[in-house]
Each structure stands twice: as structure tokens, then as C-alpha cells.
Amino acid sequence: MKPPALLSMTAPLREDFEIAYHDIGSANPSPTVALVAGIHGDELNGVFVLSRLAHFLGGVAAGRHPGRRLDGRAIIIPAVNVLGVNTRNRRWPFDGTDINRMFPGYNAGETTQRIAHAVLELTRPAHYRIDIHSSNLDFEELAQVRLYEPNDGERGTARLFGLPAVIERPMNTIFTSTLGHAWRACGGQNFVLQAGQAGTLQPVHCDRLFRALVTFLWRTGVVSGVALSDEDEEGQYFGVGHTMPLISEHAGLFISRLDVGRWVQAGDVIGQVYDGFAGELRHEIKTPVAGLLSGIRRQPLLFEGDLLARIQTRQAVAEGVDTYLHGQGQ
């Protein structure tokens, strides 16, 4: 059966294209949850996980999983930026605009404004709305819930994903044109998930993300009969001011051998900066604070002022310059 499309458009030379989505459990009048990924065409973890989730939920709805039942309705858009995925482009490839800077959109405006409008309209009726990102080409994020000026309901619900970290960040003027921000005017509860790194797909992050989404759907009553293991560690909540960015004072080649999700002590070495011509060690990067390593730079080419890592701290620290940095993957 042909899946529904939230938008169909002509293309200059190719055949018409559409942004397809899954509508699972559509006997219910209004959707319980809307899940969106691939607003950025290079963030593939979310695309893969949402396609797998749609496959799983479709199987549950069709009765292929004995003992499991779908009690809600899920709208799933694995990829909004279809052309961007197919041409390996973060942005809308034709005019270079970032779809996640086009919300709330406009149905008579530019192409990406129309796309934004259609995504918002489709997801508006859902109670829970989840936008999945994977940082950017340079940075790897621990699978986490990102909250921007949430309400108390969202703070509580965010724990239901069972992810290792819920991280609350200050709102940034750059983010006011994102889908996550546009949802705030729609009521319900809204979440941004971050996991991994753009450009490739990391199975470890995908597995964790998939488990988190199924856990969430089970705990919110969308699906029942799911047997979940308790292997996930207890998730940690980090409020505003509990994020310590490590910023490079040097240019060069940055190398780190650490994995995200580990706890570090003050003074631990995070990585090294080398002179890319002479080969000498220029600087050893040490964390000044203890905490959870929630993100690490994977792009070796380093400018002055680049973000090297983020540490989530138990005690509040000054966020300082990080509020000026662009949100990875958002």
C-alpha cells in the first residue's frame, strides 16, 4: 500500500517528489505521538531508527507480534529532507536553506517554508512530539533528551525515554525558527533527542535510540506487551548551568580516544592538539571539572574557538560562551 504523503511537489526535471510518512494505528481519531527525523539530510541515525520503529509498530498493529498491542496512533516521518538524504546534503539542496530555520513556515512561500508548514500541520494534533537529531559532521553526541525552556510536564516525561541524560539548555535566538520551537505554540509535550554524529550511522547510538523510543511508547501507553530489560543505567537530569563546554584556544589537529557517555574526573585528559605540519604536541586538553562526557569533537581540523567536548556537571557551572555556539545538529 502506498504510504500517505505530507507534501507532494513538482521538481524541475525529475518526476514529482513527495515527503512520505507512516500513520500507524490510524483507527484512533488523533495521533498520540509524532516522530520526526531527517530535517537535516545528513543526520542518518534518526532516519534509520524511525524507519525501523515504523516497521516494528506496523508489525504490532498487524498482529505479527503476539502479546503486543498498539493502543495509540503514531505519525512517523523518517526523513523530511528527502532530496537532502538522497544527495547527502544537510540543507535543502537546491537553495541551501536549512529547513530547521524555516519554521513555522508558510504554505504560499518559498519551497522550504512550504515544507516546514506541512510538517508542522501534520504533527500539530499529536500530544507527544519528538524531533530526532544527530549533531553535525564534526561532533558526536551521547543519546540524550534536549530540553529548551521546558514546562514541568516535559521535565517529568523526558525521563520516560530512559536515556542516560536529560539536558536542559537555555533558549537561543537562533533556535526560534526550529521545529522544536514551533511546537511549543501547539501545546502537548515536545522533545528534541540528540544521538551520535551526522554523515554516518552509528549502530550503538541507533540501538539505544530505538530502545528509548519503544520504552517511551510503552510507558506512555501507545504500545503494550513490550518486555524491557533494565540494562540502561539510571538517567541523569542536568538543568541549565550544568553544561561545561571545553573550547579550544588553539588551532591544529585534535585527537581524542574517549567515548561519549563516560564519567571523567577534573584534570582528566580529553584529547591532544597537534601542529599538523610540524607534528609536535601543542596542547593537552584537560577537563577542569568532573562530570559526564555528553559530546566530543570527532572532526580533527580545529580552529581557535571550536568546541572540543561538553561535560555535564553535578554542580552548576557558568555556561559562558557555549550559549553563543550554534547548537550541534539543530
Binding site: 526535471l13 518559498e110 589537529l253 599538523g276 580552529f303 574557538g305 571550536d306 560562551v321
Partner: protein, 321 residues
Amino acid sequence: MQIDHDSILTLELPYREQLQLHRTVFHGGAGPKVAVVAGIHGDELEGLYVCHRLAAWLEELALTQSDALRGRVELYPALNPLGIDTLQRFVPVFDTDLNRNFPGHREGLLPQRITEAAMRALDGAALVIDIHASNVFLREIPQVRINQESAALLVPLAHQMNIDVIWLHGALTVLEATIAHSLNSRGIPCLVVEMGVGMRITPAFTDQLMTGILRVWRSLGVLAPDLPLADLTHQPLLADDSNVHYLNAETSGLFVPEVEHWTSVRRGQRLGCIVSPHEGSVQSAVCSPVDGVLFTLREYPVVYEGSLMARIMATGSEGVQ
């Protein structure tokens, strides 16, 4: 008059090289300081040529009538030098619009360090002129764009700029992270000029704007009051949210215009059409919704549904003045 070439920022690149932000400074008397900024977007070149022409004019003035420079002129032809050198609109590597990174931060990412250095350098200016050249898609008639918030101060200046349109934007559309908003909100008047099209230079527009810039500088006391300058040749029309009409493509294909840029058009007049390379029929006829003047016209033929093809300022039954 003294002429200096210096750099307002030096940053290390990952492998051996340095990035420098160059400017040219013409020191005259103790009069006001003014600046021209260009090349914020790496694909907009019209402003670079304006800077060249202003430098040539000032160098000539230094030889012929050096004391006529009563103030100080600073030219910043390329705030996004990596973008210009690599043919990219945005800041390379960071993939961000430099004009959404103001006022910047001294310890931020490279784009924010550039904008912070620019804001510091431009502090105290009596006028900053920020020259843009649209993008590669649309051709614009020389115009100044002003947000309502700053209209009282800037509109009188814009009237002397020898441009064809002043476009007043509603306060709701203010883009906070632009250079213009950042400067104006700190009390440094900044006029945003849009003209021409990306990746090209249009010498006739440069001549037109030069006349306006020099006359504004003279009125501010940067140039001697008795210095003879060319007369204004253009009087701007006033555009705002109420009289600007947008023509977005109804379908995808090739947009082929049938009228010249900056001409009067009648309601219902055909301006062009969208065709498909696969077949002979016309996919969509593009007609003017109003009597007016065509001040934006698409230069790049390929359109998607929704692509902007033209902007028309309604002029009522009288047509263009």
C-alpha cells in the same frame, strides 16, 4: 590624508595558515568616521567593486585635494574572506550565515570572532553602509532596506543615496543577529544596500551608488562641504509591506522572463513563463497581480514550486514616477 592597510583580526587555521581580516583606512581631519562593509556573503561581489571604486576615488583625492577628507573612511571589502576565496555564500567549514552571527563573541567560533572584531572596529562610526548583492537567484535594483525601528534616523539618509527604492520592513521582521540590527541597536547608524545579483558585478549600479555614498559622506562632514560632487540622478520609491507583491512559482521548471528588470508593468501583464525542458507547452504563465514596477527579477532560471520569481511594488494607476 594618510592611507593605511591593516588587519583587525588574525586567526590560526588548522594547518599552518592564518586568516586575516583586512581593511583600508583613509585618515583625513578630525571629522566623523564612516565605513563601508561588503562581502559578508561570499557570493556577493557588487560591494567589493564599490570598495575598489571608492578606494580609487579617495586615492585620487589624496593627490588632488588631500585636505578635502575632513573625517575618516574605513573600507571592509570582505568580512567573509574564506567564503569569497572559495566561492561560498556562508562561512566555509562552519556552514553558517555570517549575517546571522552578529554581534558575535570574542571567544566564540570563528564566525563569531569575525563579527565581534567587526563590531569593535566599527564602534563610533557616524554611518556604516553594508552592501549586499542579493544572491545568485534574484537581481535587485539598487535599494536600501530599513527596519521600521530605525526609520526616523535612516530614511532621510537613504533619500540621499541615489538609489531607486527604499524598502521599509515591519518591526516584526527584524533579524536580530544581522550587522544592521546589531549596529543600529547600539546607536551606530547602518544602512543596508541591496543591489545587483550574486556572483556578478554591475558597474552601472556601482556608479549610481558611488554618487550617493559620496554625497551622504559630504552631508555628514566627512568630505569638505564645498567639494564638488555629481548630482543625484535617482529618487527612491517607497516600498513597504502594504505595496510589495511576491510572485512565487506555481510549479517547478525553467522560468523564462519576458520583460526587463525595473520596468513598469500592468495588472495581468505576462512577465514570463515556466516551461519544462521535456515538452513544448508552457507549464505556468507568470502575470503581474497589480500595476506597478518590477524591482526584483529572477536571474537563475531553474525554479521549484515556491521559488521567488519577482517582486512588484504596486504604484497604483499612475505607474512609475
